[in-house]
Subunit: 257 residues, 2 copies
Protein backbone atom coordinates (compact mmCIF):
# COMPACT_ATOMS: atom_id res chain seq x y z
CA UNK A 1 0.00 0.00 0.00
CA UNK A 2 1.28 3.43 -0.95
CA UNK A 3 2.36 5.66 1.94
CA UNK A 4 -0.13 8.41 2.65
CA UNK A 5 1.23 11.95 2.16
CA UNK A 6 1.99 14.08 5.23
CA UNK A 7 -0.04 17.31 5.18
CA UNK A 8 0.55 20.39 7.35
CA UNK A 9 -2.67 22.37 7.83
CA UNK A 10 -2.70 25.97 9.05
CA UNK A 11 -4.67 29.21 8.67
CA UNK A 12 -4.92 32.78 9.92
CA UNK A 13 -8.39 32.82 11.48
CA UNK A 14 -7.21 30.63 14.35
CA UNK A 15 -7.42 26.92 15.08
CA UNK A 16 -11.09 26.98 16.13
CA UNK A 17 -12.38 28.69 12.95
CA UNK A 18 -15.00 26.74 10.95
CA UNK A 19 -12.87 27.22 7.80
CA UNK A 20 -9.88 25.27 9.13
CA UNK A 21 -12.14 22.61 10.68
CA UNK A 22 -13.60 22.01 7.21
CA UNK A 23 -10.11 21.94 5.63
CA UNK A 24 -8.88 19.40 8.21
CA UNK A 25 -11.89 17.17 7.49
CA UNK A 26 -11.20 17.27 3.71
CA UNK A 27 -7.44 16.72 4.09
CA UNK A 28 -7.97 13.60 6.23
CA UNK A 29 -9.33 11.98 3.06
CA UNK A 30 -6.07 12.83 1.28
CA UNK A 31 -3.34 12.02 3.79
CA UNK A 32 -1.94 12.13 7.32
CA UNK A 33 -2.85 15.51 8.81
CA UNK A 34 -0.92 17.56 11.35
CA UNK A 35 -2.40 20.93 12.30
CA UNK A 36 -0.26 23.83 13.56
CA UNK A 37 -2.43 26.94 13.59
CA UNK A 38 -2.63 30.23 15.49
CA UNK A 39 -4.27 30.22 18.93
CA UNK A 40 -6.10 33.44 18.02
CA UNK A 41 -7.19 35.21 14.81
CA UNK A 42 -4.28 36.65 12.78
CA UNK A 43 -6.08 38.21 9.82
CA UNK A 44 -4.33 40.94 7.81
CA UNK A 45 -1.05 40.11 9.51
CA UNK A 46 0.75 40.00 6.16
CA UNK A 47 4.01 38.07 6.29
CA UNK A 48 4.77 39.01 9.89
CA UNK A 49 7.08 36.82 11.94
CA UNK A 50 7.77 36.94 15.68
CA UNK A 51 11.32 37.98 16.51
CA UNK A 52 10.75 40.16 19.56
CA UNK A 53 8.56 37.86 21.63
CA UNK A 54 8.48 34.25 22.75
CA UNK A 55 6.49 31.58 20.95
CA UNK A 56 4.35 28.94 22.62
CA UNK A 57 3.11 25.71 21.08
CA UNK A 58 0.56 23.45 22.80
CA UNK A 59 -0.82 20.13 21.67
CA UNK A 60 -4.60 20.25 21.78
CA UNK A 61 -6.50 17.67 23.74
CA UNK A 62 -8.99 16.54 21.13
CA UNK A 63 -11.64 13.82 21.23
CA UNK A 64 -9.71 11.49 18.93
CA UNK A 65 -6.32 10.13 19.93
CA UNK A 66 -5.33 10.06 16.25
CA UNK A 67 -5.62 13.83 16.01
CA UNK A 68 -2.40 15.79 15.77
CA UNK A 69 -3.33 19.38 16.48
CA UNK A 70 -1.14 22.13 17.87
CA UNK A 71 -2.02 25.74 18.62
CA UNK A 72 0.77 28.31 18.35
CA UNK A 73 0.90 31.81 19.85
CA UNK A 74 2.52 33.26 16.71
CA UNK A 75 1.58 34.42 13.23
CA UNK A 76 0.65 32.13 10.32
CA UNK A 77 4.26 32.30 9.02
CA UNK A 78 5.52 31.39 12.51
CA UNK A 79 3.15 28.39 12.54
CA UNK A 80 4.66 27.05 9.32
CA UNK A 81 8.24 27.62 10.50
CA UNK A 82 7.77 26.00 13.89
CA UNK A 83 5.46 23.35 12.43
CA UNK A 84 8.19 22.12 10.09
CA UNK A 85 11.17 22.53 12.43
CA UNK A 86 9.82 21.58 15.85
CA UNK A 87 6.53 19.70 15.41
CA UNK A 88 7.03 17.59 12.26
CA UNK A 89 10.83 17.78 12.32
CA UNK A 90 10.68 17.16 8.55
CA UNK A 91 9.21 18.79 5.47
CA UNK A 92 5.61 17.73 4.85
CA UNK A 93 4.54 16.62 1.36
CA UNK A 94 1.99 19.42 1.22
CA UNK A 95 1.01 22.51 3.20
CA UNK A 96 -2.54 23.87 2.99
CA UNK A 97 -3.73 27.10 4.58
CA UNK A 98 -7.34 28.20 5.17
CA UNK A 99 -10.09 27.93 4.37
CA UNK A 100 -10.02 31.67 4.97
CA UNK A 101 -13.22 33.47 5.90
CA UNK A 102 -12.94 36.23 3.26
CA UNK A 103 -11.29 37.02 -0.06
CA UNK A 104 -7.58 36.73 -0.73
CA UNK A 105 -8.00 37.49 -4.43
CA UNK A 106 -6.25 40.37 -6.23
CA UNK A 107 -4.39 42.82 -3.93
CA UNK A 108 -5.66 41.04 -0.79
CA UNK A 109 -2.87 38.49 -1.31
CA UNK A 110 -0.42 41.14 -0.05
CA UNK A 111 -2.20 41.60 3.30
CA UNK A 112 -3.19 37.99 3.74
CA UNK A 113 -2.12 35.88 6.68
CA UNK A 114 -3.54 32.79 4.94
CA UNK A 115 -1.32 33.34 1.92
CA UNK A 116 1.71 34.28 4.04
CA UNK A 117 1.56 30.79 5.52
CA UNK A 118 1.35 29.22 2.06
CA UNK A 119 4.21 31.43 0.82
CA UNK A 120 6.34 30.62 3.87
CA UNK A 121 5.94 26.91 3.09
CA UNK A 122 6.89 27.66 -0.54
CA UNK A 123 10.04 29.48 0.60
CA UNK A 124 10.94 26.35 2.56
CA UNK A 125 10.46 24.23 -0.55
CA UNK A 126 7.12 22.66 0.40
CA UNK A 127 4.33 22.52 -2.24
CA UNK A 128 1.53 24.62 -0.83
CA UNK A 129 -1.92 26.07 -1.38
CA UNK A 130 -3.96 28.83 0.25
CA UNK A 131 -7.76 28.41 0.16
CA UNK A 132 -10.21 31.25 0.75
CA UNK A 133 -13.98 31.75 0.51
CA UNK A 134 -15.44 35.15 -0.34
CA UNK A 135 -17.53 35.19 2.81
CA UNK A 136 -16.27 37.04 5.89
CA UNK A 137 -18.91 35.54 8.18
CA UNK A 138 -17.63 33.31 11.00
CA UNK A 139 -20.62 31.09 10.18
CA UNK A 140 -19.84 31.11 6.44
CA UNK A 141 -21.24 28.21 4.46
CA UNK A 142 -18.38 25.94 3.36
CA UNK A 143 -20.63 23.29 1.75
CA UNK A 144 -19.94 22.40 -1.87
CA UNK A 145 -16.22 23.22 -1.73
CA UNK A 146 -15.06 19.78 -0.63
CA UNK A 147 -14.57 18.07 -4.00
CA UNK A 148 -12.75 21.10 -5.47
CA UNK A 149 -10.40 21.46 -2.49
CA UNK A 150 -9.62 17.75 -2.64
CA UNK A 151 -9.07 17.76 -6.44
CA UNK A 152 -6.71 20.75 -6.27
CA UNK A 153 -4.72 19.20 -3.40
CA UNK A 154 -4.44 15.87 -5.26
CA UNK A 155 -3.25 17.71 -8.38
CA UNK A 156 -0.50 19.46 -6.42
CA UNK A 157 0.54 16.17 -4.84
CA UNK A 158 0.75 14.40 -8.19
CA UNK A 159 2.10 17.22 -10.40
CA UNK A 160 4.22 19.04 -7.82
CA UNK A 161 4.86 22.77 -8.13
CA UNK A 162 7.97 24.49 -9.53
CA UNK A 163 10.35 26.03 -6.98
CA UNK A 164 9.10 29.46 -5.98
CA UNK A 165 5.42 29.00 -6.85
CA UNK A 166 2.42 28.39 -4.59
CA UNK A 167 -1.31 28.43 -5.39
CA UNK A 168 -3.87 31.01 -4.30
CA UNK A 169 -7.36 29.49 -4.56
CA UNK A 170 -10.48 31.61 -3.98
CA UNK A 171 -14.10 30.41 -3.96
CA UNK A 172 -17.04 32.67 -4.78
CA UNK A 173 -19.52 33.18 -1.95
CA UNK A 174 -22.03 30.35 -2.10
CA UNK A 175 -25.23 31.18 -3.92
CA UNK A 176 -28.15 29.09 -5.14
CA UNK A 177 -26.22 28.40 -8.37
CA UNK A 178 -23.47 25.77 -8.22
CA UNK A 179 -19.89 26.86 -9.07
CA UNK A 180 -19.30 27.01 -12.83
CA UNK A 181 -15.88 25.37 -12.43
CA UNK A 182 -12.23 26.42 -12.01
CA UNK A 183 -10.44 29.24 -13.84
CA UNK A 184 -6.66 29.68 -13.78
CA UNK A 185 -6.23 33.46 -13.53
CA UNK A 186 -3.86 36.33 -12.89
CA UNK A 187 -4.03 38.68 -9.89
CA UNK A 188 -6.27 41.66 -10.73
CA UNK A 189 -4.85 45.18 -10.27
CA UNK A 190 -6.99 46.52 -7.45
CA UNK A 191 -6.73 48.47 -4.25
CA UNK A 192 -8.64 49.44 -1.16
CA UNK A 193 -9.83 53.01 -1.09
CA UNK A 194 -9.27 53.56 2.61
CA UNK A 195 -11.65 55.38 4.87
CA UNK A 196 -10.49 56.40 8.32
CA UNK A 197 -13.33 56.91 10.74
CA UNK A 198 -12.27 59.45 13.34
CA UNK A 199 -13.76 59.12 16.82
CA UNK A 200 -13.10 60.69 20.20
CA UNK A 201 -12.42 58.52 23.23
CA UNK A 202 -13.83 59.17 26.72
CA UNK A 203 -10.62 61.08 27.58
CA UNK A 204 -11.21 63.49 24.68
CA UNK A 205 -8.44 62.05 22.50
CA UNK A 206 -8.85 61.36 18.76
CA UNK A 207 -8.50 57.88 17.39
CA UNK A 208 -9.20 56.16 14.09
CA UNK A 209 -10.75 52.99 12.73
CA UNK A 210 -9.41 51.82 9.37
CA UNK A 211 -11.95 50.66 6.84
CA UNK A 212 -12.23 50.95 3.10
CA UNK A 213 -14.00 50.21 -0.14
CA UNK A 214 -12.52 47.66 -2.54
CA UNK A 215 -11.80 49.00 -6.03
CA UNK A 216 -11.07 46.70 -8.97
CA UNK A 217 -8.99 48.86 -11.33
CA UNK A 218 -8.53 46.01 -13.81
CA UNK A 219 -10.87 45.49 -16.78
CA UNK A 220 -9.23 42.20 -17.83
CA UNK A 221 -11.30 39.05 -18.26
CA UNK A 222 -8.35 36.83 -17.29
CA UNK A 223 -8.22 38.02 -13.66
CA UNK A 224 -9.18 36.32 -10.41
CA UNK A 225 -11.77 39.03 -9.71
CA UNK A 226 -13.45 38.45 -13.09
CA UNK A 227 -13.56 34.68 -12.52
CA UNK A 228 -15.04 35.09 -9.04
CA UNK A 229 -17.64 37.63 -10.17
CA UNK A 230 -18.78 35.04 -12.72
CA UNK A 231 -19.10 32.27 -10.11
CA UNK A 232 -15.86 30.47 -11.05
CA UNK A 233 -13.29 29.30 -8.52
CA UNK A 234 -10.03 31.18 -9.23
CA UNK A 235 -6.53 29.71 -9.02
CA UNK A 236 -3.61 32.15 -9.27
CA UNK A 237 -0.06 30.79 -9.31
CA UNK A 238 1.76 33.10 -6.87
CA UNK A 239 5.50 33.73 -6.71
CA UNK A 240 7.66 35.25 -4.01
CA UNK A 241 10.32 36.50 -6.41
CA UNK A 242 8.99 40.07 -6.43
CA UNK A 243 11.52 41.26 -9.04
CA UNK A 244 9.87 43.23 -11.86
CA UNK A 245 12.21 41.57 -14.38
CA UNK A 246 10.70 43.49 -17.31
CA UNK A 247 11.82 46.81 -15.80
CA UNK A 248 15.50 45.95 -15.24
CA UNK A 249 16.62 47.13 -18.68
CA UNK A 250 14.88 50.50 -18.30
CA UNK A 251 16.36 50.98 -14.85
CA UNK A 252 19.84 50.34 -16.22
CA UNK A 253 19.38 53.42 -18.41
CA UNK A 254 18.81 55.73 -15.45
CA UNK A 255 21.58 58.22 -14.62
CA UNK A 256 22.87 57.27 -11.21
CA UNK A 257 26.20 59.08 -11.42
CA UNK B 1 10.60 78.89 -9.07
CA UNK B 2 9.58 75.27 -9.47
CA UNK B 3 7.40 73.88 -6.71
CA UNK B 4 9.29 71.56 -4.40
CA UNK B 5 8.03 67.96 -4.38
CA UNK B 6 6.03 66.70 -1.39
CA UNK B 7 7.75 63.70 0.19
CA UNK B 8 6.21 61.28 2.70
CA UNK B 9 8.88 59.66 4.89
CA UNK B 10 8.25 56.53 6.95
CA UNK B 11 10.03 53.42 8.22
CA UNK B 12 9.60 50.34 10.38
CA UNK B 13 12.21 50.89 13.10
CA UNK B 14 10.15 53.71 14.62
CA UNK B 15 10.27 57.49 14.35
CA UNK B 16 13.25 57.90 16.69
CA UNK B 17 15.57 55.48 14.83
CA UNK B 18 18.84 56.95 13.52
CA UNK B 19 18.06 55.55 10.05
CA UNK B 20 14.90 57.62 9.57
CA UNK B 21 16.53 60.71 11.09
CA UNK B 22 19.24 60.44 8.40
CA UNK B 23 16.63 59.90 5.66
CA UNK B 24 14.64 62.95 6.81
CA UNK B 25 17.80 65.06 6.71
CA UNK B 26 18.61 63.96 3.15
CA UNK B 27 15.03 64.36 1.89
CA UNK B 28 14.87 67.96 3.15
CA UNK B 29 17.43 68.76 0.43
CA UNK B 30 15.05 67.27 -2.14
CA UNK B 31 11.62 68.59 -1.18
CA UNK B 32 8.98 69.33 1.44
CA UNK B 33 9.06 66.55 4.00
CA UNK B 34 6.19 65.14 6.05
CA UNK B 35 7.00 62.23 8.36
CA UNK B 36 4.40 59.66 9.44
CA UNK B 37 6.22 56.80 11.13
CA UNK B 38 5.50 54.15 13.76
CA UNK B 39 5.70 55.15 17.44
CA UNK B 40 7.57 51.93 18.18
CA UNK B 41 9.68 49.41 16.24
CA UNK B 42 7.70 47.32 13.71
CA UNK B 43 10.41 45.14 12.19
CA UNK B 44 9.42 41.88 10.46
CA UNK B 45 5.77 42.94 10.49
CA UNK B 46 5.40 42.08 6.79
CA UNK B 47 2.47 43.80 5.16
CA UNK B 48 0.34 43.80 8.32
CA UNK B 49 -2.46 46.32 8.67
CA UNK B 50 -4.53 47.18 11.73
CA UNK B 51 -8.18 46.21 11.40
CA UNK B 52 -8.94 44.95 14.88
CA UNK B 53 -7.58 47.85 16.97
CA UNK B 54 -7.75 51.62 17.02
CA UNK B 55 -5.08 53.83 15.46
CA UNK B 56 -3.60 56.92 17.06
CA UNK B 57 -1.68 59.68 15.29
CA UNK B 58 0.13 62.45 17.20
CA UNK B 59 2.03 65.43 15.84
CA UNK B 60 5.47 65.53 17.41
CA UNK B 61 6.61 68.64 19.19
CA UNK B 62 9.97 69.16 17.51
CA UNK B 63 12.52 71.95 17.90
CA UNK B 64 11.72 73.49 14.51
CA UNK B 65 8.27 74.85 13.75
CA UNK B 66 8.76 73.90 10.10
CA UNK B 67 8.95 70.23 10.98
CA UNK B 68 5.98 68.10 10.07
CA UNK B 69 6.37 64.88 12.01
CA UNK B 70 3.66 62.49 13.14
CA UNK B 71 3.97 59.27 15.09
CA UNK B 72 1.37 56.58 14.48
CA UNK B 73 0.48 53.60 16.70
CA UNK B 74 0.13 51.28 13.69
CA UNK B 75 2.25 49.28 11.29
CA UNK B 76 4.35 50.77 8.44
CA UNK B 77 1.52 50.06 5.96
CA UNK B 78 -0.94 51.79 8.32
CA UNK B 79 1.40 54.83 8.46
CA UNK B 80 1.31 55.18 4.67
CA UNK B 81 -2.48 54.73 4.49
CA UNK B 82 -3.24 57.22 7.25
CA UNK B 83 -0.42 59.53 6.12
CA UNK B 84 -1.97 59.94 2.68
CA UNK B 85 -5.64 60.00 3.72
CA UNK B 86 -5.64 61.89 7.00
CA UNK B 87 -2.35 63.78 7.38
CA UNK B 88 -1.49 64.94 3.83
CA UNK B 89 -5.04 64.57 2.49
CA UNK B 90 -3.42 64.19 -0.97
CA UNK B 91 -0.98 61.85 -2.70
CA UNK B 92 2.65 62.89 -2.15
CA UNK B 93 5.04 63.10 -5.12
CA UNK B 94 7.29 60.50 -3.52
CA UNK B 95 7.25 58.11 -0.57
CA UNK B 96 10.53 56.93 0.96
CA UNK B 97 10.85 54.31 3.70
CA UNK B 98 13.89 53.61 5.85
CA UNK B 99 16.77 53.80 6.15
CA UNK B 100 16.26 50.34 7.64
CA UNK B 101 18.75 49.02 10.17
CA UNK B 102 19.36 45.67 8.46
CA UNK B 103 19.05 43.94 5.10
CA UNK B 104 15.90 43.83 3.01
CA UNK B 105 17.65 42.15 0.10
CA UNK B 106 16.57 38.79 -1.38
CA UNK B 107 13.84 36.96 0.59
CA UNK B 108 13.91 39.57 3.38
CA UNK B 109 11.68 41.74 1.17
CA UNK B 110 8.80 39.38 2.07
CA UNK B 111 9.12 39.93 5.83
CA UNK B 112 10.09 43.59 5.64
CA UNK B 113 8.08 46.35 7.27
CA UNK B 114 10.23 48.92 5.45
CA UNK B 115 9.31 47.46 2.07
CA UNK B 116 5.65 46.95 3.05
CA UNK B 117 5.41 50.74 3.49
CA UNK B 118 7.01 51.33 0.08
CA UNK B 119 4.73 48.72 -1.52
CA UNK B 120 1.64 50.19 0.16
CA UNK B 121 2.51 53.58 -1.37
CA UNK B 122 2.98 51.85 -4.74
CA UNK B 123 -0.46 50.24 -4.46
CA UNK B 124 -1.88 53.72 -3.89
CA UNK B 125 -0.12 54.96 -7.04
CA UNK B 126 2.68 56.90 -5.34
CA UNK B 127 6.27 56.48 -6.65
CA UNK B 128 8.19 54.97 -3.76
CA UNK B 129 11.50 53.61 -2.55
CA UNK B 130 12.61 51.51 0.40
CA UNK B 131 16.18 52.08 1.66
CA UNK B 132 18.06 49.64 3.88
CA UNK B 133 21.60 49.29 5.23
CA UNK B 134 23.10 45.86 5.94
CA UNK B 135 23.83 46.79 9.54
CA UNK B 136 21.37 45.74 12.28
CA UNK B 137 23.02 47.93 14.92
CA UNK B 138 20.87 50.76 16.33
CA UNK B 139 24.07 52.85 16.14
CA UNK B 140 24.77 51.79 12.54
CA UNK B 141 26.99 54.13 10.55
CA UNK B 142 24.89 55.86 7.89
CA UNK B 143 27.73 58.12 6.61
CA UNK B 144 28.52 57.98 2.90
CA UNK B 145 24.99 57.02 1.82
CA UNK B 146 23.69 60.56 1.44
CA UNK B 147 24.61 61.27 -2.18
CA UNK B 148 23.33 57.87 -3.36
CA UNK B 149 20.01 58.20 -1.53
CA UNK B 150 19.55 61.68 -2.96
CA UNK B 151 20.48 60.62 -6.52
CA UNK B 152 18.09 57.68 -6.47
CA UNK B 153 15.24 59.84 -5.10
CA UNK B 154 15.87 62.53 -7.75
CA UNK B 155 15.88 59.86 -10.47
CA UNK B 156 12.49 58.55 -9.32
CA UNK B 157 11.10 62.09 -9.19
CA UNK B 158 12.30 62.90 -12.71
CA UNK B 159 11.73 59.51 -14.42
CA UNK B 160 8.70 58.34 -12.47
CA UNK B 161 8.01 54.64 -12.00
CA UNK B 162 5.57 52.44 -13.96
CA UNK B 163 2.33 51.52 -12.21
CA UNK B 164 2.90 48.55 -9.94
CA UNK B 165 6.67 48.95 -9.41
CA UNK B 166 8.61 50.30 -6.43
CA UNK B 167 12.35 50.24 -5.72
CA UNK B 168 14.14 48.18 -3.09
CA UNK B 169 17.55 49.77 -2.38
CA UNK B 170 20.10 48.06 -0.13
CA UNK B 171 23.49 49.40 0.97
CA UNK B 172 26.40 47.15 1.97
CA UNK B 173 27.57 47.55 5.55
CA UNK B 174 30.12 50.36 5.63
CA UNK B 175 33.71 49.24 5.46
CA UNK B 176 36.97 51.07 4.92
CA UNK B 177 36.46 50.78 1.15
CA UNK B 178 34.01 53.22 -0.47
CA UNK B 179 30.97 51.75 -2.29
CA UNK B 180 31.85 50.59 -5.81
CA UNK B 181 28.63 52.09 -7.21
CA UNK B 182 25.07 51.01 -7.95
CA UNK B 183 23.94 47.71 -9.51
CA UNK B 184 20.42 47.09 -10.77
CA UNK B 185 19.71 43.51 -9.71
CA UNK B 186 17.13 40.79 -9.26
CA UNK B 187 16.01 39.32 -5.94
CA UNK B 188 18.24 36.36 -5.02
CA UNK B 189 16.57 33.02 -4.20
CA UNK B 190 17.40 32.61 -0.55
CA UNK B 191 15.82 31.57 2.71
CA UNK B 192 16.36 31.55 6.44
CA UNK B 193 17.24 28.18 7.90
CA UNK B 194 15.29 28.62 11.11
CA UNK B 195 16.51 27.60 14.48
CA UNK B 196 14.09 27.47 17.38
CA UNK B 197 15.75 27.78 20.74
CA UNK B 198 13.64 25.98 23.32
CA UNK B 199 13.71 27.31 26.87
CA UNK B 200 11.73 26.66 30.03
CA UNK B 201 10.06 29.53 31.87
CA UNK B 202 10.00 29.88 35.69
CA UNK B 203 6.60 28.13 35.73
CA UNK B 204 8.14 25.08 34.03
CA UNK B 205 6.49 25.72 30.68
CA UNK B 206 8.32 25.41 27.32
CA UNK B 207 8.71 28.39 25.05
CA UNK B 208 10.71 29.17 21.93
CA UNK B 209 12.83 31.96 20.47
CA UNK B 210 12.93 32.12 16.68
CA UNK B 211 16.31 32.70 15.08
CA UNK B 212 17.99 31.42 11.97
CA UNK B 213 20.89 31.37 9.57
CA UNK B 214 20.58 33.11 6.22
CA UNK B 215 21.17 30.86 3.20
CA UNK B 216 21.71 32.24 -0.28
CA UNK B 217 20.58 29.43 -2.60
CA UNK B 218 21.27 31.48 -5.73
CA UNK B 219 24.58 31.30 -7.59
CA UNK B 220 23.66 34.09 -10.04
CA UNK B 221 25.90 37.12 -10.46
CA UNK B 222 22.94 39.36 -11.31
CA UNK B 223 21.35 39.18 -7.84
CA UNK B 224 21.10 41.74 -5.06
CA UNK B 225 23.07 39.45 -2.73
CA UNK B 226 25.93 39.19 -5.23
CA UNK B 227 26.04 42.98 -5.69
CA UNK B 228 26.04 43.59 -1.93
CA UNK B 229 28.74 40.98 -1.27
CA UNK B 230 30.90 42.86 -3.77
CA UNK B 231 30.35 46.23 -2.09
CA UNK B 232 27.82 47.53 -4.63
CA UNK B 233 24.54 49.21 -3.70
CA UNK B 234 21.69 47.03 -5.05
CA UNK B 235 18.47 48.31 -6.60
CA UNK B 236 15.75 45.75 -7.28
CA UNK B 237 12.55 46.86 -9.03
CA UNK B 238 9.82 45.20 -6.95
CA UNK B 239 6.27 44.43 -8.06
CA UNK B 240 3.16 43.58 -6.09
CA UNK B 241 1.57 41.57 -8.89
CA UNK B 242 2.60 38.23 -7.46
CA UNK B 243 1.20 36.23 -10.41
CA UNK B 244 3.69 33.68 -11.75
CA UNK B 245 2.57 34.48 -15.32
CA UNK B 246 4.98 31.94 -16.83
CA UNK B 247 3.19 29.09 -15.03
CA UNK B 248 -0.36 29.88 -16.15
CA UNK B 249 -0.14 27.75 -19.33
CA UNK B 250 1.15 24.71 -17.42
CA UNK B 251 -1.57 25.08 -14.81
CA UNK B 252 -4.22 25.15 -17.52
CA UNK B 253 -3.12 21.62 -18.46
CA UNK B 254 -3.85 20.22 -15.01
CA UNK B 255 -6.84 17.91 -14.66
CA UNK B 256 -9.31 19.65 -12.38
CA UNK B 257 -12.37 17.67 -13.36
Amino acid sequence: MKKRPLILVTNDDGITAPGIRKLIQIMKEVGEVVVVAPSSPQSAKGHAITLDATLHVNRLKTPSATDNEYECSGTPADCVKIGIKEVLKRKPDLCVSGINHGSNASINVIYSGTMSAAIEAGIEGVPSIGFSLLDYDWNANFEGLESYVKTIALNVLSNGLPDGIVLNVNFPKLSKEPFKGIKVARQARANWNEKFEKRINPMGKDYYWLSGVFENLDGGEDTDEFALENNYISIVPVQFDLTAHHFIDSLNNWKFS
